[in-house]
Subunit: 410 residues, 2 copies
């Protein structure tokens, strides 16, 4: 019944609006993620079998097995998978999120994000930065070596700062970053600069030496995407208890495994074929190289960020293409398919109007307007990496399936 | 002759467009500023006598004399001035600039900014941050104590970082900050965050201890205005050699002593009564408390920043008032009175159009459009401090005087 749905939607929106996601820890996935085992690899998007995974996700899987020491090389890793010795599951099924291929393996350090209002806890791995990286399907020796360094050197130092901080409130940082022209999906420059300023006093107060602290910032500064995984974990934590509200038509995530584009409604998956991204390619690459849309990062668009805040981020056009006018028009359209305006994030250019928040499946169906997403683009083959960035619309079909399910539930 | 003027203007614009102001040193004013003496106090705006100075400038003067140890208290300092034992001059007459009252005294550390293209060098003091501060006319014991700490503790550490950097290119930092929603006159949040990131590796590479480094950042972070003085010195350095080009109708600065609003053309002063600021006041203050427009900071508007970049800084409205639409309209108007578009600073919201640059006295007269300025507001009495921020138009009368002088020169 529509009345119940309205009440459910109010409850879901209230949960998100009152959420206070706080970065409280950084620990190996095996120690904190519910249901994580030594045999498990989590991935972005809806559950998918090895055979059906796209090229870059397979590349990440093989790289992660080498990183974990389960195989000495990529070929042996492939045999391990084909013998059925790797257990796959979706990040979202474990209160986690991962950008692009989204592979989280047991030894990887993960951000631990607690919504201090509702007590829910979510997880995301550390971002490796631009260029060749595991999350884009690259899996060469430098990629694996960087992951080992992040695990053994970077993470313990960052953990020190996080623990000393007593917990970093993330949504206020994102709010400031949005005021500074980030949309916090594909542009994170201001957010990263705010993170540096937030970590700095705690690292300086620790027992770490200046060279040890310098190494941390040498890695962070310039790696703007490093903040994205923190944003993703914060959004996941903020929506977690909302996923348990029955009857709601508000989605809690867009989530793509590189083959299927999924939305999450009441904790269930509704999928459609993953679309191509309208891309702005790095030199030497084109649409022919591009994998379809991939990654859990578009949880930002479910949270009033990314394409839902991009009207305030005109500097992003150099990276994702488009024009400021096009981005603003798309951003404004999102108010037609959302339940409310964010109390967390505001757009100064719209006189501090809250960003459109809470994508309502019913409104998407009624208007035919689909969520607007900014995103990075992976090469379609394993082992290559990022080839560009761009923008796209979520496919209508997954909203149609969700609406049909809603009718059955009503 | 108009032909000569066009050639002169092209030359002036070329100088600014090719300038590469670089932060190279931080030294006591007495050691570096040409013509500085132990008896000298430099001030913002055109030259003015003690009797004619506005309240906050007199307050700053008295505070500076206590800071310098020339008087044990403000009353003795006043007697010193009245006995004629203090030599006053305009900052601009010494290749320097100072925000608000702009008092630079001999012991104050000053940024040394070299335009590496033309070899010119300009100077600005350190910004004390918000609240009660000497530059706003406050002169209590905490204000003086902070200045002593900045001189003896902060400046040597910052100097260490600047020297280790080999020189920090400032215009590229400002370009990034403008892309991040600063206009770099009254909003400097992104610029400050970029400065923190630029100084960090050099401080960590120094022999300073972690607590010593932490003190530096504890002071800097949150004091967004700290970057303004760096921007001002950079702009002054960039225009310095342009001031020597005869026949040009492009101004090189707006400069206000709190009584008169001046523009600088070919190194000469043209003044009009300083207007009131359309202010956005801190709680408890109103227009009745406000001093007329004051400070050398509006050299930013002569350089394609401040009101000339404010269309890209909508978050500033919470601080200076107005609406994003009003700020954008005023910003766009500035293209009608400027010679060119900046090659240094671009507005992403206008598709990376260069900011309007090079205010042409002739175009101001032809259009009747006056430069749009964002600014802080000082209390009109000595000793109080900042009471708000706002926006205003430069007075037409000083452009009329400059145009008349141009005709005589032609």
């Amino acid at each position: 019944m529509a009345l119940d749905r309205e009440a459910a939607n109010r409850q879901v929106i209230q949960i998100f609006q009152e959420a206070a996601p706080t970065l409280i820890e950084l620990k190996p996935a095996i120690e904190v993620i519910p249901g994580m085992t030594r045999e498990t690899l989590l991935h972005a998007g809806a559950p998918i079998s090895w055979e059906n995974m796209c090229g870059p996700m397979q590349g990440s899987v093989l790289g992660a097995l080498v990183y974990e020491g389960r195989a000495p090389d990529l070929e042996t890793a492939r045999q391990l998978v084909e013998r059925g010795e790797v257990h796959f599951d979706a990040c979202h099924n474990h209160a986690a999120v991962g950008p692009m291929t989204g592979i989280i393996s047991p030894s990887m350090p993960v951000w631990v994000m607690e919504d201090r209002t509702h007590g829910t806890v979510a997880y995301c791995n550390l971002n490796e930065g631009p260029g060749q990286s595991l999350r884009y399907g690259a899996n060469g020796p430098e990629v694996i070596a960087r992951l080992h360094w992040m695990q053994s050197v970077l993470a313990p130092r960052l953990r020190e700062a996080v623990l000393r901080s007593g917990g970093l409130a993330i949504f206020p940082m994102i709010r400031s970053a949005v005021e500074m022209g980030d949309e916090c999906h594909s542009r994170n420059r201001a957010a990263l600069s705010l993170l540096v300023q937030a970590l700095l006093p705690h690292l300086l107060a620790s027992n770490l030496s200046s060279p040890e602290i310098a190494e941390v910032f040498q890695f962070l500064i310039g790696r703007d995407y490093f903040f994205l995984n923190i944003t993703m974990a914060a959004c996941k934590a903020a929506w977690l208890s909302a996923e348990k509200v029955p009857g709601s038509s508000i989605i809690t995530a867009h989530s793509r495994n590189g083959v299927e584009f999924a939305i999450r409604l009441q904790g269930q998956w509704f999928t459609a074929p993953s679309p191509a991204v309208n891309g702005h390619y790095f030199p030497g690459f084109s649409q022919a190289d591009a994998n379809p849309d991939i990654g859990d990062s578009a949880i930002t668009e479910a949270s009033g960020l990314g394409g839902f805040a991009v009207g305030g981020a005109p500097a992003i056009t150099g990276f994702i293409g488009g024009t400021p006018a096009e981005l603003m028009a798309a951003n404004l359209e999102m108010y037609q398919i959302t339940a409310t305006e964010s109390q967390h994030f505001v757009l100064p250019v719209l006189g501090n109007r809250g960003t459109p928040t809470g994508v309502d499946v019913v409104k998407v169906l009624e208007t035919g307007i689909c969520p607007y997403i900014t995103t990075g683009i992976a090469h379609r083959q394993a082992g290559v990496g990022q080839v560009g960035a761009g923008r796209l619309r979520a496919p209508l079909a997954c909203f149609e399936k969700a609406a049909a399910a809603l009718l059955n539930l009503d």
